[in-house]
Symmetry: C2
Subunit: 327 residues, 2 copies
DNA sequence: TTGAAAGCGATACCAG
DNA sequence: CTGGTATCGCTTTCAA
């Protein structure tokens, strides 16, 4: 590893001067700047970020907390975050915490130990625990005190229910995500409002988690408890898929016997058959804008808008029946 | 942030002693060790990894290079890697490089600047560029000089072709992944061997990339070039899915008109309908064992086996027809 | 068994 | 404009 010292020696200047040219800070005469740059190139020098970070008490690393990297919604977010932070010269420390509070605080500690510049988190409740590291929440929002990028869950819940209501539902069941997830409650509220106003009866099925590996057994339980369901509003696309698969296994036709709408629009939802109707969240955008928000906070110390809300959209595919009018 | 100095002061010892107790290095009397530990607890102290890393010229971070985080196969690997390195006290710096050589070397540079302990890479050719950072390759292997964990691509290719051959293929097309990916060639070789020995005619369709976002247009091109195909051996599950979807769009029945087998067995392949037959690679295991291999190298400086090969298995689902015998 | 002190590689203050 | 130097927090000789 070549250090600033060797550059200084080669250029015939002090390390202070090299540092100044590197960072465009303070005065450097044109001629010495040239000499330094030449030496830098010649030695193929680039500064050690660890040393920088030690002095500055702040690294160019950002911690990314994800609840479940195997749910394709989160890699989509992660990609947005990555592109966003890269653009501003940061890199990501990955923390996949799996709804495990202990793992989460372990990571938060590791982040601190590494002089992380800030945290972007898509997991619930990663709020108080961090000792004043700047934080941006994605998708899952707690209070209005914090910086967050999220989509309009209430509108999403309404949209989903609306789509079902327009399609001759007999027996509707809403699958609700874990209570601990703020967005779930908002979606449920939105859906319930529409169903109640339309006088469509419905039931609620609570899922314990959003974890991918629980989706299949949850789908089984779902049909045991609601054997006569004909329309489901699922908590996310993964669970919608599991329900669809289980329904087909039970000999039901989709969408004739069972229609279903998901949430998220993960990349695969449009690639399956029947195509999964869903409420699309702009996952990449959520990630990207979250990254920008955090970087602005890091650079300017604040941001004007602390809540960025992104729109959701209805994606109609084959898993919903035709509208009444169309029949 | 509380430092080792404050701990030393509170315990009434020198920082050297604190450091020694923290690391179990050198002599520390039982009584002072107690005092130090008490102080550590009282101040809730944990060492700054950046300072450590600066001195040791080696951090507790491992760089993870992935070709496409939106392909569910890689998050599955990533999860294995994460669990593996966490177990040994390391964390991950994420680099999603998207088949982009420049992005890859950017990340390699960032890794160096951060005194990374080692690199785990699932992208092709991340070999020479790194200045003697320990490297473990996943899934995609170059030469036999390097440390790598991968599955048996040749056997996988054979298995896939075998499954098709036994099921009355009329016109077989093999989709081959990018030439730059070593595994692709092995799989192709395996498949060709079986097809040739069975005297089943076939054609080869070359895909330019494994990227998720190109899957759909590739599927369209595929059918334009091979309108009469009835059996496809796809390069991976994502592309198999895209082909399935496109086939259904074109009014073909699966598996009657078109049967298909994928590769990878990503978590979703079993969740769709029809279920995708595929060659399963143990993604999580590949990641986990790769992590262990790297950690062993880091701690002991070497490892006995530099190539770990994991078995692949055939997963039969609805996307393949019944065997001839069964009909 | 313990402590003083010299770094690790970079930054930034203060003189000159 | 430039250079000397203290400093960031921790580890590790080397003496005591």
């Amino acid at each position: 590893m070549t250090t600033i010292r060797e550059v200084a020696k080669l250029a015939g200047v002090s390390v202070a001067t090299v540092s100044r040219t590197l960072n465009n800070s303070g005065y450097v005469s044109e001629s010495t700047r040239k000499r330094v740059e030449k030496a830098v190139k010649e030695l193929n020098f680039y500064p050690n970020e660890v040393a920088r970070s030690l002095f500055q008490k702040k690294s160019k690393l950002i911690g990314l907390l994800l609840p479940d990297i195997t749910n394709p919604f989160f890699p989509a977010i992660a990609k947005g975050v990555e592109d966003g932070v890269n653009q501003r010269g940061y890199s990501l420390l990955l923390g996949n915490v799996e709804d495990d509070a202990e793992k989460e605080s372990d990571y938060l500690k590791i982040f601190e130990q590494n002089n992380i510049a800030g945290v972007i988190s898509a997991v619930q409740g990663s709020a108080a625990k961090l000792n004043n590291m700047p934080l941006v929440l994605l998708d899952r929002v707690n209070s209005h005190q914090e910086y967050a990028v999220h989509s309009d869950d209430y509108a999403g819940g309404k949209l989903a229910a609306q789509a079902v209501v327009e399609r001759n539902p007999e027996k509707v069941v809403i699958m609700v995500g874990p209570k601990s997830v703020a967005g779930s409650a908002m979606r449920l509220a939105g859906s319930e409002k529409v169903l109640q106003e339309s006088l469509v009866p419905y039931e609620v099925f609570q899922t314990a988690s959003f974890q991918l590996n629980l989706a299949e057994e949850t789908a089984e339980r779902f049909f045991e408890q609601h054997p006569d369901v004909d329309s489901v509003i699922a908590s996310n696309d993964v669970y919608a898929l599991a329900v669809m698969k289980e329904a087909i296994k039970r000999g039901m036709n989709i969408p004739e016997d069972l229609q279903i709408i998901g949430y998220d629009d993960m990349p695969f939802s449009r690639m399956m058959y029947p195509g999964l109707s869903t409420i699309a969240q702009p996952a990449y955008q959520i990630g990207y804008q979250g990254a920008e928000l955090l970087c602005n906070i890091l650079e300017k110390g604040y941001a004007h808008e602390n809540h960025i809300q992104l729109p959701v959209t209805l994606k109609l595919r084959e898993s919903l029946r035709k509208k009444d009018l169309d029949e």
